[in-house]
């Protein structure tokens, strides 16, 4: 568009790209003369993740090189993922509370034995998870993959 990187047309164009979230893909000169090189032919896109390749091709019989881009046609789906959830379909909060109340939480050692915090935590976790598994069992489910393509 402009042979002057800081010219007003160039600034306007850059501002336009920013406002519409457009990315310009060409980064090599497209018009090469004896004394100067300029980038005057552009490819701009608003979904750059769909373009896998772009560049400048030499065209010997023209005073401008050719710009190109390759647009993906077959969208690759991200592979599905298997995730683990708790199934709350038959969860009864009152029954869960009753079961939690019924657990013997006093597994702490007597006054003569040293209390090891890691052991206490593991005991608590084991008891709690046992009750939780009964009321809201773990289940696995296949979910749509996340497309992390840039």
């Amino acid at each position: 568009m402009s042979s002057h990187r800081n010219g007003s047309s160039c600034k306007q164009l850059k501002s336009l790209f920013r406002s519409l979230n457009i990315k310009q893909l060409i980064d090599q000169p497209t018009r090469i003369s004896k004394n100067s090189t300029s980038l005057t032919d552009l490819v701009a896109v608003n979904w750059p993740q769909n373009v896998c390749e772009s560049g400048v091709l030499s065209v010997h019989l023209s005073d401008h090189e050719r710009v190109y881009c390759v647009r993906k046609l077959n969208r690759k789906r991200a592979p599905s993922q298997v995730k683990t959830f708790r199934n709350y379909a038959h969860f009864n909060v009152d029954a869960f509370r009753e079961d939690v109340k019924g657990v013997n939480w006093n597994s702490a050692p007597g006054p003569d034995e040293p209390a090891i915090v890691d052991d206490l935590w593991h005991d608590f976790k084991r008891e709690f998870v046992t009750v939780a598994d009964r009321h809201a069992p773990l289940t696995q489910s296949r979910v749509r993959g996340i497309d992390n393509c840039p």
Binding site: I22, W47, N50, V51
Partner: protein, 67 residues
């Protein structure tokens, strides 16, 4: 399949907007245009304003654009 979107074109801007339909995917707009050089008799000092207007109109559709 391509459909020329002349509703997005302006008579005073040298360019066209084909809309490319892709099977099993959303169509996209492939805009081509040329800005005549300042030395050209077809040079338009309001080119950038017109370009801005065209892109604004097209982007309202929320489609992918390549140009």
């Amino acid at each position: 399949m391509a459909t020329r979107r002349d509703d997005l074109e302006l008579d005073t801007v040298e360019g066209m907007w084909p809309e490319i339909a892709v099977p099993t995917s959303r169509s996209f707009l492939l805009e081509n245009f040329y800005r005549p050089d300042r030395t050209s008799p077809y040079y338009d000092k309001d080119f950038m304003v017109k370009l801005n207007g065209m892109l604004d109109t097209a982007s309202v559709e929320g489609k992918e654009m390549l140009w």
